[in-house]
């Protein structure tokens, strides 16, 4: 598990499949090989009013860690992350009286997964309740676990393949955690950050 940077790719009036195709061509031209598909999904549950102060639970799955269910509990003041095994999904079903899922917010990012050298690149088409929202590019540099050490290297890689629309600063979630050891939950945090942004901005939604 290495450092992962998640970034939005500017759609420039192209449709989702077109964007994915352009990026696939670029990454294949760099010498990457496709290694299957990936899927990250997120479902959001909110507590019923009887429980008092409203709390939100985001439940996420990542195909890179298929046996794990990630959940992030927002209490308002802070966010509590939790990594559990697959049974957590069933537990959430049992608690459906207290935590109800908002069907309109079910988001996912899926698409092809490429490997190039020690990098792993995933080109995800983001849909929120099956409406196309945009393109998310995930780049993982697997040998390194400290974001501060390999940020410049990742930036160079991203700019080499996304061009000018590559990021110039680390993701906001990572900015305070540059010296810490990276773990899969950090990727989940980044995905949630982006999913939340996509949900809030229905304007950019385009048909796939």
């Amino acid at each position: 598990m290495g450092v992962t940077i998640l970034t939005q790719f500017n759609t420039e009036n192209r449709s989702g499949p077109q964007n994915i195709e352009i990026l696939s061509k670029r990454i294949l031209a760099l010498g990457a090989t496709q290694q299957g598909q990936f899927l990250v999904d997120c479902e959001t549950y909110t507590s019923v009013p009887q429980l008092g102060h409203q709390r939100t639970v985001h439940v996420l799955h990542n195909s890179e860690q298929p046996a794990t269910v990630f959940s992030l509990l927002e209490t308002g003041a802070k966010t509590i992350p939790l990594a559990t095994d697959g049974l957590f999904d069933l537990l959430m079903m049992k608690m459906s009286h207290f935590y109800t899922s908002k069907k309109q917010t079910k988001s996912e990012s899926k698409g092809p997964r490429y490997e190039i050298g020690d990098f792993c690149v995933k080109l995800g088409t983001v849909t929120v309740s099956s409406n196309f929202k945009g393109v998310l590019v995930e780049v993982e540099y697997r040998p390194c676990v400290v974001p501060a050490m390999c940020w410049d290297l990742l930036k160079e890689f991203l700019q080499g393949f996304l061009g000018l629309s590559g990021p110039t600063t680390p993701p906001t979630y990572l900015q305070n955690r540059m010296q810490e050891n990276y773990s899969p939950i950090d990727t989940i945090h980044q995905y949630l950050e982006h999913f939340t942004m996509f949900r809030k901005s229905p304007g950019i939604g385009m048909r796939p």
Binding site: D118, C144, E156
Partner: protein, 295 residues
């Protein structure tokens, strides 16, 4: 001994002559009457020729018998040691091994002979004049065997290097008592498993922290496989049998420069990546980072 061999040789050559003359007899018999026997009395000529040939064979046979009777029979059976088992070898390609074995035995025998002569000559012209200026303690230091050193010496060396670099941690274990295998963690960047042979570095394997400590398995990451390769090159470069401690120290000093493996750009091209690899080479003297292709 010398006489025995001489006699053996003469017996062998007598047999050779006998064999060649017997062959002549058979040649002549198989050819029968020839044109050069002429027309008149050709049968008697042929018989005469045959008689002459048989007389020579008879003489030769007598020579052989004489030569053989001069030989002294060996006392009892020869002891061939383990090589006797070679005769029981069934595979075809190994049956020739005995000949090779004899050749190599002769070769080593010659080496022993020559080195004994060389040793005598060198002892007569003493080369060790220069060493005589050293004090005895110093000389003992340089003469220590580097393969077979007491474990404490290696232990001291490792702890002294450990003290030298605060961001490097060393863990030692000893699968074979005099030869430790140490695990060197370089910050949070990488770890190396280094096997020692006495005071000399024998093998290096570079891996990610999450990977196993197996000395022989390669890292799953390209970058660490490349660094392993470069470490082997550096290990050979710094290797010095006369000053093994210095070699280990310089190697560790060089190795320490990998703590910027992911963060330092290449000195030549200024980029981080080249063929999706960071600068994996560190200059042996200046410790500056370079890509494999840029150095």
């Amino acid at each position: 001994m010398e006489r025995d061999i001489e006699q053996l040789n003469s017996a062998l050559s007598a047999i050779k002559v006998l064999r060649s003359n017997v062959r002549n007899v058979f040649d002549s018999v198989s050819n029968g009457l020839r044109a050069d026997h002429g027309d008149e009395g050709k049968e008697s000529k042929f018989v005469h020729e045959l008689q002459e040939l048989l007389t020579t064979v008879n003489n030769n046979l007598r020579d052989v018998e004489n030569a053989v009777s001069n030989l002294t029979p060996p006392p009892g059976a020869f002891s061939l040691g383990n090589t006797t088992y070679l005769s029981q070898e069934t595979t075809q390609e190994r049956q020739a091994l005995y000949g090779q074995l004899v050749n190599s035995y002769k070769w080593t025998d010659k080496i022993r002979e020559y080195s004994a002569v060389a040793g005598n000559i060198l002892a007569a012209n003493s080369f060790n004049k220069t060493y005589k200026t050293f004090s005895t303690t110093k000389r003992r230091k340089t003469q220590t065997s580097n393969h077979n050193v007491p474990p404490e010496v290696i232990e001291n060396l490792i702890t002294s290097i450990d003290r030298l670099f605060p961001d490097v941690t060393f863990t030692t274990n000893r699968p074979l008592v005099p030869n430790p295998v140490i695990q060197v963690s370089l910050g949070r960047v990488l770890k190396a498993i280094i096997a020692f042979k006495g005071l000399m570095i024998e093998w290096v394997a570079v891996k990610a922290h999450a990977e196993s400590n197996d000395l022989w398995a390669e890292s799953r990451y390209k970058v660490f496989r490349k660094v392993t390769e470069n470490c082997h090159a550096a290990m050979c470069h710094f290797h010095s049998p006369m000053m093994p401690e210095l070699a280990v120290r310089s190697f560790m000093h060089w190795f320490h420069s990998y703590n910027t493996l992911f963060s330092a750009p290449c000195k030549r091209c200024g980029n981080h990546l080249h063929t999706t690899l960071p600068p994996t080479w560190r200059d042996l003297r200046t410790l500056e980072p370079y890509h494999e292709e840029c150095k």
